[in-house]
């Protein structure tokens, strides 16, 4: 439980971060909140040559609300977002889902963008990003680009990020008038990895349901609304399409059933909670 040797760079500005990534590529890892990376280092699952600490880069520390989305910088901790007084008003789904991320202790260190970069298939933030149609802002010395969340997550802990790119921010759309949002999750214990997590948006009689913990990445799909009798069939098809797997904590069958049952319950709750 001691990491292999590595170099540590405490970056003071964004350019320094990008320089290290440009030079080291896959041998460098960004150190933000460290809640996933440090256990991996200690277990020697990961052996990066250099860690770039971005938590002291001023330009990465802000949350900007432009009226349609919250743009959250790479050094913003989950607890900081959770503590925003207007969070439930600006995006109810975020307010509902953030308490499900790990524990208060991990949220006080873990960052929003770090969770997105890590791309755990059970993680709540990638699921929200996909369900809400958010955007990932990537920057390298070569270029700056914005990738839609649905295209960003490519598999188990795999993303569209190139080795020299930094996720400098993510944009999470704020609530739209008339839309309803709801989040539900089943885990073995409080704070555990989701067996199934559901994020639903209901707008104009149609639903969008995002599912985490089942496929190898968070997946969102448009659905008939809660009053549409086609919803059950759509949920069933979605449940099968996610190719659930067995593990120690749940069976594939159980996961499919929760997609149907919990998925419907979440959509219905979102419909009830329309602003």
């Amino acid at each position: 439980m001691k990491p292999a040797p590595f170099d540590y760079v405490r970056a003071s500005d964004g350019a320094e971060v990008l320089d290290v990534l440009h030079r080291q590529g896959a041998d460098a890892r960004i150190l933000a909140g460290g809640q996933s990376l440090l256990p991996m280092l200690n277990m020697r699952l990961a052996r990066p040559a250099v860690l770039v600490d971005i938590m002291h880069v001023p330009s990465l520390q802000s949350i900007a609300d432009d009226g349609t989305a919250l743009r959250i910088g790479a050094a913003v901790r989950q607890a900081e977002l959770e503590a925003r007084p207007d969070l439930a008003r600006r995006q109810k789904l975020l307010a509902a889902a953030l308490p499900w991320i790990g524990h208060a202790q991990t949220r006080s260190r873990g960052t929003v963008c770090g969770s997105v970069a890590h791309a755990d298939p059970s993680a709540e933030l990638p699921l929200l990003l996909v369900a809400l149609g958010g955007t990932v802002h990537l920057r390298s010395r070569r270029r700056h680009r914005a990738v839609e969340a649905g295209a960003f997550f490519t598999g188990m802990m795999a993303t569209d990020r190139a080795d020299d790119e930094l996720i400098e921010a993510v944009s999470i759309p704020t609530a739209r008038p008339g839309a309803g949002y709801a989040f539900r999750e089943i885990g073995r214990r409080h704070g555990d990895f989701a067996i199934v997590a559901c994020a639903a948006v209901v707008e104009n009689g149609r639903a969008r349901l995002g599912i985490g913990g089942v496929a190898d990445r968070p997946v969102a799909q448009d659905m008939p609304g809660p009053d549409d009798e086609a919803l059950d069939e759509a949920l069933d098809a979605f449940a099968w399409a996610l190719e659930a797997r067995d593990d120690l904590h749940a069976t594939a069958r159980y996961r499919r059933e929760l997609v149907r049952r919990l998925g419907r319950a979440t959509i219905e709750e979102a419909a009830r909670c329309r602003a």
Binding site: T154, M157, W240, D247, R261
Partner: protein, 986 residues
């Protein structure tokens, strides 16, 4: 606390603030890792087996030995040269080493020890040790281990059965022949553990001049294991000084198991020529400390039509893991005297088998043998009720040992010391609000909800007879070995020149509050305040009074250790009274100790301060009366006469005291998610005299939380290849404050006639009663005859969810069973290239390897066999592997089969893949693949949740790369695909 409390009203029985807490709550506890180490102390790290079962063909230590800061590296041969095998508790031809010798038998088994300047360097050195394993078939199921063709762990044993004993008490055959009905249950109790916050720690030093070891370890006892350690280190007992730190961060039995590491680290210190410190990390702890046994039980009962149990027939198959490590198979025999539980059953037969499997060796765990016995017994009681259509409470009542029968000798030899089980049960029903729960159940069921109530009645044994384990030997073997019995407890009380009192006991508390209670006990005897008594609980075998039963286990503190302290204080008082009698000029039996003074009973003004009397033997021994010796230190050894050796008929009083517990559990099972919610949990205890109500409540609450883990969350899971699958706390799920409801704790006190203070043990009982009580409640809610722990919602859901039909376009595919690490996969990709071109690529590893990043050092052994070093990973997780691959069934240009294996620091994999190439159109080829792979080692135990998905990622990457390469792109290749088949990447 009021200073005016006198010995008459007493300190014992009050919930005084714990003297331990000021330090513990401020982070000032002195645990092993907080204590300073001698100058020049080195640090050890342990390389552990990634395989459940494998022969060690070669170990290369040279690179590790040459690494910076490394002082010594030892493997099995080096340890074996310095030590002897640990003594095994049964008469069977097998050895038991603290490190693998030539063969690994469980995942996590130590393979080598690196000693370096610091732990980082020691772990770096482990990375440089090359071990070549030859995997062997593994067996993890105790029944499978008994099969004729099962893989054998210990060839010298000739099989996996280490012990097979049959017992008969009364006339069970006749009872079964005459009984109205026979009712049976078959159960599998899972493996779980106790998971203390603090893991094992050892600091060991060897003095070559004295040929003596000095060891500090957070060992908890029993100190009978000191003899095992000394023998293994090949020194007399007086040359193994074993000390324990002042605090231990939880043990619950588990820290008994540190003893094997004491031997290992002591031998490493001898080789290194310096003190060596090793602190177990959490991964090591989960994989390779000690856990409880899993057990397969068939229990038959001969039952009257009214539900009276006339006879029991037990068939127990105990799985002790890869080695029978002392004191095992004690888990199987700890309950031997009370195999009839709280019931009056006169005819019992027992068959006990002990088997070895490719899993972590077992050892002490809170409840020790109790949960494994009470799960089938109390499931049986519920089944009797269901099958005979009788209220389960009635079945319990009709079978409980009656109040006028105590002390009650059970059929198998235990003496149940005291109790009124029916009164306690009735009080629990009344005070626990049972009628309300029954009404809730009726209403819930009327509303279509799933609500159930379960019960459990158990006796909780405490103060183990050191002779019970010898019941595993035949009477003839016992005669040859000599009798073993008793439970020596010891306490030493001493007076210093200022007249203050110190009390030492040979226990090793793990946070229970021993010091507080012992101060209360001694203060009452000596007429002092608890804060006047300094209590010392760490043990030093070179200086303190101790014996084989010393230590903190089998709930022996309140009944035995506190009792011995009481006897020591009393003896000191009697001797002081003789001195006081001369000074006060009254007979000794008229001397009263109260309010920190010593007085004449009939003239309170005739008194002197306690401290003055207590100091007298230091300052003025010449003034002592002629009939009184100096009073400075008093050591008491106490062992109860009731703990006799097993009889020729195999009757054994396995424990001194037997508390009684009656539990009621009401649950609701969620219809949507199948989650179990505990509505109310009532637990009634008769633990004899309560010495400190607050601590008893703490013990019961802790035991309940622990047991709830066993009931709902925790399992040491293994794959069929011996892969350990719950290697982190993300997979081994310990309940937290969020998951544990507060139980309703009730008491019905009957004083034990066998212990000095009338107390019985209380710390383990809920680990025995609660798992089965929750199971009974869930069985009642869902109408189940069979229930398996832990009660996974996904498993319960199978009884709730309607049958699922797969969509027509998605035929059922082979999928891994839960807990198995066998991966299956299939897929296809369309490549814009002619089939022959792709075929050529497939057979040209050199070309492909050149374009595959991550492959280094490719060696072509033959046209169809090659070896390579590859690096692969997912996200930040990267590992380097040694891979061997062969191609077979070549059908150019249509199909090929690949077989291979790879092994590296993160784990290993073996697999087979079939590739077919179909020309869909000219210049366009469909590459279809299917594979099966088995993955094990570190990644399987700590990353199981992500394993399948990670394998898919790697495969996906390959096909993308292959397509790019075939289309003339810059990267890609067959080799990446090979890699994807083999070990896990991420």
């Amino acid at each position: 606390m009021g200073a005016d409390v006198t010995a008459e009203t007493g300190w014992v029985g009050r919930s005084l603030p714990r003297v331990e807490d000021a330090a513990l709550l401020r982070g000032a506890g002195r645990y092993i890792d907080d204590l300073g180490t001698p100058a020049g102390t080195l640090h050890a790290a342990i390389l552990r087996s990634p395989h459940g079962h494998a022969a060690i063909e070669a170990i290369e230590l040279a690179a590790a030995r040459a690494a910076p800061g490394v002082v010594a590296v030892l493997a099995g041969a080096e340890i074996a040269a310095l030590t002897a095998s640990l003594v095994v508790g049964v008469k069977a031809p097998m050895e038991c080493w603290p490190i693998a010798i030539d063969r690994v038998r469980y995942m996590g088994e130590p393979v080598a020890v690196a000693v370096a300047r610091d732990r980082y360097l020691a772990e770096d050195a482990l990375d440089l040790i090359e071990v070549r394993y030859r995997p062997l078939p593994a067996v993890t199921d105790p029944l499978a281990a008994l099969a004729d063709d099962a893989p054998v762990l210990h060839p010298t044993l000739g099989g996996n059965l280490a012990s097979d004993r049959r017992f008969s008490y009364g006339e069970p055959d006749a009872a079964f022949a005459e009984a109205a009905v026979k009712i049976s249950v078959e159960t599998r109790y899972p493996r779980n553990a106790c998971t203390p916050i603090e893991t094992y720690g050892v600091v060991a030093e060897y003095d070559p001049g004295l040929d003596a070891y000095d060891v500090l370890a957070n060992f908890q006892g029993p100190f009978s294991l000191h003899a095992v350690m000394a023998r293994a280190l090949k020194v007399p007992g007086n040359r193994l000084r074993l000390r324990t730190p002042p605090e231990s961060g939880g043990s619950f039995g588990v820290k008994q198991g540190v003893f094997a590491y004491v031997v290992l680290i002591a031998a490493a210190a001898r080789t290194a020529g310096a003190p060596v410190k090793w602190v177990e990390d959490r991964l090591e702890h989960l994989a390779a400390s000690v856990c409880a046994t899993n057990r397969v039980t068939r229990l038959d009962a001969a039952v009257s039509a009214e539900g009276k149990i006339l006879a029991l027939a037990w068939d127990q198959i105990e799985d002790c893991g890869a080695h029978l490590r002392a004191p095992e198979p004690a888990t199987l025999y700890r309950m031997h005297g009370n195999m009839t539980g709280a019931y009056d059953i006169r005819h019992v037969s027992i068959r006990n088998r002990v088997v070895l499997t490719n899993k972590m060796p077992t050892g002490l765990n809170r409840g020790f043998g109790g949960p494994q016995v009470y799960f089938p017994l109390e499931r049986l009681v519920q089944q009797i009720a269901v099958q005979l259509g009788i209220d389960p409470l009635e079945v319990i009542r009709r079978n409980l040992v009656p109040a006028d029968a105590f002390p009650y000798r059970t059929a198998t030899g235990a003496i149940l010391d005291s109790g009124d089980y029916r009164a306690a049960t009735d009080a629990a029903l009344r005070q626990g609000g049972h009628a309300e729960l029954v009404a809730r159940r009726a209403q819930a069921r009327a509303e279509g909800r799933l609500y159930g109530i379960g019960y459990a009645a158990v006796v909780e044994p405490s103060v183990s007879n050191m002779g019970y384990i010898t019941a595993v030997l035949t009477p003839a073997e016992r005669r040859r070995a000599g009798p073993k019995n008793g439970a020596q407890a010891t306490a030493t009380i001493a007076l210093d020149p200022l007249g203050s009192v110190s009390l030492h006991v040979a226990s090793a508390p793990q946070g229970q509050g021993h010091r507080t209670v012992l101060a209360q006990v001694a203060a009452d005897v000596l007429g002092l305040r608890p804060q006047d008594i300094r209590v010392i609980t760490e043990i030093d075998t070179a200086r303190d009074a101790w014996s084989i039963a010393s230590g903190n286990y089998s709930s022996r503190f309140a009944p035995a250790v506190a009792g011995a302290a009481h006897l020591a204080a009393t003896r000191l008082r009697e001797r002081l009274a003789r001195i006081a009698a001369a000074q006060l000029n009254v007979p000794a039996d008229e001397v009263v100790f109260a309010e920190r003074r010593v007085r004449a009973r009939d003239n309170p003004d005739n008194s002197l301060p306690f401290a003055r009397l207590a100091a007298a033997s230091h300052w003025a021994p010449g003034t002592l009366p002629a009939d009184a010796e100096a009073v400075i230190r008093e050591t008491v050894f106490w062992t109860p006469p009731e703990l006799t050796a097993p009889t020729e008929a195999d009757e054994v009083n396995s424990s001194l005291c037997h508390g009684f517990i009656f539990d009621i559990c009401a649950v609701e099972v969620d219809r949507v998610t199948a989650e179990v919610r505990i509505d109310r949990y009532v637990t009634m205890h008769d633990c004899g005299r309560v010495l400190h109500p607050g601590m008893v409540a703490g013990q019961v609450t802790g035991g309940f939380a622990h047991a709830l883990g066993a009931a709902l969350y925790e399992e040491h899971a293994y794959g069929p290849d011996g892969s350990f699958l719950s290697g982190t706390l993300a997979d081994y799920l310990v309940p937290t404050a969020m998951e544990v409801p507060e139980p309703v704790i009730l008491h019905h006190e009957t004083v034990s006639p066998f212990t000095p203070l009338g107390a019985k043990g209380v710390g383990e009982g809920n680990c025995m009663s609660t798992p089965v009580c929750v199971a009974n409640a869930v069985a009642d809610a869902l109408g189940l005859a069979d229930v398996t722990l832990p009660l996974l919602p996904a498993r319960l859901a199978e009884h709730l969810f309607a049958a699922e039909t797969s969509p027509p376009d998605r035929p059922a595919r082979p999928v891994a069973k839960p807990g198995e690490r066998q991966l299956f996969g299939e897929g296809s990709a369309t490549v814009e290239a002619p089939r022959e071109k792709i075929w050529a690529m497939l057979l040209d590893p050199d070309t492909l390897a050149a374009v595959v990043p991550g492959a280094h050092g490719i060696e072509k052994l033959s046209p169809t066999n090659f070896r390579a070093d590859v690096t692969l990973g997912i996200g930040p997780v990267k590992g380097r592997y040694r891979a061997e691959i062969s191609l077979s069934d070549l059908r150019p240009p249509k199909a090929v089969t690949l077989t291979g294996g790879a092994e590296g620091g993160l784990g290993f994999g073996r697999g087979t893949g079939h590739v077919t190439l179909t020309e869909e159109a000219p210049g366009r080829t469909v590459v279809a693949y299917c594979y099966e792979a088995a993955i094990g080692g570190k990644v399987a135990s700590i990353g199981g949740r992500l394993l399948d998905g990670a394998a898919r990622v790697v495969i996906g990457q390959f096909f993308q790369a292959l397509a790019t390469q075939a289309g003339g792109g810059r990267r890609g290749g067959f080799f990446a695909w090979l890699r994807s088949l083999l070990p896990w990447g991420g």
